[in-house]
Symmetry: C2
Subunit: 223 residues, 2 copies
Amino acid sequence: MSETGTHHQPTAEQQYTPIPYGAPFAAFMLLPIPSTHSYKPPKKYEIGSGSSTDPKVVTCFNLADQDGNGFIDDKELQRFLSSDNQIFSLRIVHLLMYHITNTNTRVLGPMEFTSLLSTLQYWTSIFQRFDKDRSGKIDSSQLEVVLQSLGFSVSPVTLDLLVSKFDKSGGVEKVIEYDNFVGCCLTLKTLTDMFKEKETNNSGSATFTYESLKLKVLPFLIA
Amino acid sequence: MSETGTHHQPTAEQQYTPIPYGAPFAAFMLLPIPSTHSYKPPKKYEIGSGSSTDPKVVTCFNLADQDGNGFIDDKELQRFLSSDNQIFSLRIVHLLMYHITNTNTRVLGPMEFTSLLSTLQYWTSIFQRFDKDRSGKIDSSQLEVVLQSLGFSVSPVTLDLLVSKFDKSGGVEKVIEYDNFVGCCLTLKTLTDMFKEKETNNSGSATFTYESLKLKVLPFLIA
């Protein structure tokens, strides 16, 4: 497990080892991550220069858009992200769509889809470093390191809470599957954004009115 | 729709009209609400004098405890709260159990079960005033009035968010079923408690550190 802070072209092993994500997304994951993204989460809607017309992204979009209506709905995105072995949870598909669109409309156009691929590509690349056998799972002791690599600060108490939520066995097996790893990242990203938006002068404290707290937390619960 | 601030013995109509909640819980709902509870939510774990040995509560507990092990698990509670016509959502059963126990253990002993009945009895009694035909549903225009009766302050924006979450059609039909009404109350209650705990001197503002925000919001998402 080495963290060098750089991204590399996929190795031959990566190119030929089946990975447990949806086949089109798996193919996408073999693309190199733009070096501008290294160790910084891509900003929402920030699309690398020319990436909206990247033919590989267009191919992914067209594969995901099964009914060809020019939009990706939640079921299409679920199929795109699921593999034969692992169904990507619809709840986390909805969280993802909410995270990208800030609405509950549950459809993505090409721009939003590109943004979603960029976010997922970043998180998944780090997940894959720990998921050596491409099982689509990491154990809870690895989760803390992965989250720290992604820049999330997690105390032991927070980590326990996350594992009790995102381990499908409720914390018994302490194994985090790929879809729940994405859910975990989304949760921490949203809480971090919520905090930063209300933090005053890097004071380490964020102040909410009753209404602003409801308006921040409810959409998150609602997605 | 009259709100007199007093509770009455069940009418003959209430006694003989089937209601869409689980039969044992429906029977429990026919009990008069203790007058000490009128229009104030019962405090968590606050059990009325002698209510822990109330034979009707004991009967309810024994009906719910189908395997007779002395504890109510999530599936048992779901069956207890479901009727032939409406399955009470397991997600909201989990939220309820978390609300009562502050843990994810998902079992209730007699004390917690009594507390849960007390909380539900209060919320349900107000819901029933609007659910005149005992369909187990109210419309979204009634939701605001019900929530206000329960002491929750809801702005139009908050109400829209709640309806988009708790209407099973995603806000199209604008109908709130009984289980989602309970989920809605739990959500508002938790957010209100979270705010009040961190509010300083009734200032209208609550201050969180990054860690305290995570520790407050995560368990809520986790339940």
